[in-house]
């Protein structure tokens, strides 16, 4: 009984902020700022309708998704060959290089905001999805290399050699034999790239102004002379949760296996 109560309380506290966000998104501003209500007295979808009909709102999601997907694809396709090299070959300074890659993750994004801003302005990448996607590679490529290296090292070298003896060319071996073997690892790495890129705000906001503005930056617009548009903000927040939830749903099996096998 005591265990049930503990678990119940735990779940309650876990779910409360989430419930409150959803709760708010279906209320009007008057109700939110008025008395405390546990559920919407006058449920309204006006906040969601506004987001889905106003391009300045929904384009925020499109922009965010665009750079996040771009970043995930770039990170994984760069990390795969790098991780293979770290896992299979010994070369001068390989260990140091591997550690240096990891240490990139330790740097705060704010440090890089200014150089990226200046650089991208100069080469005309500023305010494009590419700007953010490339900037996020700084954190996601090392992470993906680290995760994938762990999975690749779990595949015996003899499989590579057997494929050589069977006559496989390297690309054919890599895509037909090797990649399916580390499928879980690719799933886990892609998940982390997606999530880091999706929740990162500072670089995304600094490197965009109008055309590629991410949703997180747009949400700050609801502060106006008329005050805060609480309901709209809450609705935007609910929608922001959805892509992450979807990604988790799709890679849940890989992640369950991946956490057990890999290094993460």
């Amino acid at each position: 009984m005591a265990r049930r109560i503990t678990l119940g309380l735990y779940l309650l506290f876990l779910a409360l902020p989430l419930y409150w966000l959803i709760n708010m998104s279906f209320k009007t501003n008057e109700e939110i700022t008025g008395a405390l209500t546990l559920w919407p007295r006058n449920p309204t979808t006006a906040n969601f309708v506004r987001i889905f009909t106003d391009p300045s709102w929904y384009m925020g999601y499109v922009n965010s998704l665009e750079y996040v997907v771009l970043n995930t694809v770039i990170s994984i396709s760069l990390a795969l060959p790098a991780a293979y090299a770290f896992s299979r070959y010994r070369f001068l300074g390989d260990k140091h290089l591997f550690f240096w890659l990891l240490s990139n993750r330790m740097a705060p994004p704010a440090v890089f905001a200014l150089p990226f801003f200046n650089l991208y302005s100069a080469v005309g990448l500023f305010d494009t999805p590419w700007a953010v996607a490339l900037a996020h590679c700084l954190f996601n490529v090392p992470l993906a290399v680290w995760i994938l290296e762990g999975f690749m090292s779990g595949v015996p070298r003899e499989i590579d050699e057997t494929a050589q003896l069977d006559g496989y060319s390297f690309p054919r071996f890599f895509f037909r034999i090797f990649l399916p073997l580390i499928g879980n690892g690719v799933g886990v790495a892609a998940f982390f790239c997606f999530m880091f890129s999706w929740v990162e705000l500072l670089l995304a906001r600094t490197l965009t102004t109008v055309d590629a503005k991410p949703i997180a930056a747009i949400m700050t617009r609801t502060v106006s002379a008329a005050g805060m548009d609480w309901g709209l903000l809450a609705a935007a927040g609910v929608l922001t949760l959805i892509p992450g939830a979807l990604v988790i749903w799709f890679v849940r099996n890989q992640i369950a296996k991946g956490f057990a096998l890999g290094r993460v």
Partner: protein, 366 residues
């Protein structure tokens, strides 16, 4: 068709793995690489396969230099001690894989895969994935894959070491037969002298990265030319005794005189090493004309039809020598029990200080 190795050497990180190996491996009979762990069997096979390159020396296949040809452009099949298959492909696709890469037609692939699967009794399992079948079935899949491609060179690196006893017996009989029809050069690595004898063919005794002796397996077993070859080809380990020959007498390290006449009495002066196999060391009361020793029983291993008795023997050195005696039947001996041992001088190998043979046992005794 022959595979010739000429003066092959290879070291990794300063450690010599192979030292000046020259060999000629013909087709039509198993070529057995026999040696203990780290004797260079796997290193040698990897060079033959083209997975590694020698530091010096040449590898010739039918007179053609293939030293620098990468593995994927050679016609080589290899079976590892660990069961290596592609875990995400079905057994069928695993076996078909080298044929698919070679661009063989679909119907022909199907015919050859089913033929190999029938030989190795894998037919009901073809649609399964490797992790879903037993270790023996996984290894048979790996062997089938090596079989279908009809490679010029088939390398089996201790293929039966991780299998259970019954499967080993079965496969050991079948393997040479399976590959005999393919016309391939068959190379088989093993640590077990018994396996080398059962397979027959040519044996290459390897010791610390160098070839100790090459020849028909029965001959190498009967007449090792070096101490290393004798050691490699003895299971249980060969019993050894260091002696010195002075003024026509045999002396133990502590100066005790061994009273033995005949062949051993006429050895040239100098230091020698006597070697004799476990089955020639008997329990017997001291008698004239034999080499006699006193010892105490350390361990007895009973296999059922035979017993291996490990005995600590006083051989005049600082520490007693641990010898093994192979006796018929079940021998129940207590550890610590004193025993008296005798060796027939006719069954003794004599090696000189450099390890070369100086006297072989009489054929009748062996």
């Amino acid at each position: 068709m022959t595979l010739r190795l000429e003066g092959i050497s290879r070291s990794v990180a300063g450690v010599a793995h192979l030292r000046d190996v020259s060999l000629s491996l013909p087709r039509g009979m198993p070529n057995v690489l026999l040696g203990p762990t780290l004797s260079g069997k796997t290193s040698l096979m990897r060079l033959m396969a083209g997975l590694d390159r020698p530091d010096s020396g040449r590898i010739l296949l039918d007179g053609k230099d293939v030293t620098g040809v990468p593995a994927r452009r050679r016609s080589v099949a290899m079976v590892y001690q660990q069961f290596v298959n592609y875990p995400t492909l079905t057994l069928y696709e695993n076996i078909a894989s080298p044929l698919r890469v070679a661009g063989v037609k679909g119907a022909e692939i199907d015919r050859r895969v089913r033929e190999a699967a029938a030989l190795l009794r894998l037919e009901p399992l073809l649609e399964r994935l490797p992790p879903q079948v037993s270790g023996g079935q996984q290894q048979r899949t790996a062997i089938a894959r090596a079989l279908v491609r009809r490679a010029d060179l088939v390398l089996l690196d201790e293929p039966l070491a991780n299998l259970d006893y019954k499967l080993r017996e079965e496969l050991r009989e079948e393997l040479p037969r399976l590959f005999a029809d393919s016309g391939a050069i068959l190379v088989y690595a093993t640590t077990e002298p018994t396996e080398a004898l059962l397979l027959g063919g040519q044996v290459v005794a390897l010791w610390e990265g160098a070839v100790a002796q090459v020849g028909p397996s029965a001959e190498v077993y009967r007449a090792p030319r070096t101490l290393a070859a004798a050691r490699v080809f003895s299971d249980p380990p060969m019993n050894e005794l260091a002696i010195a020959c002075r003024d026509g007498a045999l002396l133990l390290p502590d100066g005790r005189r061994l009273s033995v006449g005949g062949r051993l009495a006429s050895l040239p002066a100098g230091d020698h090493r006597l070697g004799f196999r476990a089955e020639t060391l008997r329990f017997a009361a001291p008698a004239a004309g034999t080499l006699c020793f006193a010892g105490t029983v350390a361990v007895t291993e009973i296999t059922g039809s035979e017993s291996f008795v490990h005995v600590d023997v006083d051989v005049g050195a600082a520490a007693p020598a641990r010898w093994v005696s192979l006796l018929p039947g079940v021998q129940e001996l207590e550890p610590g029990q004193p025993v008296s041992l005798a060796v027939d001088p006719a069954a003794i190998f004599v090696f000189d200080a450099a390890g070369a043979i100086a006297g072989a046992p009489c054929r009748a005794a062996a």
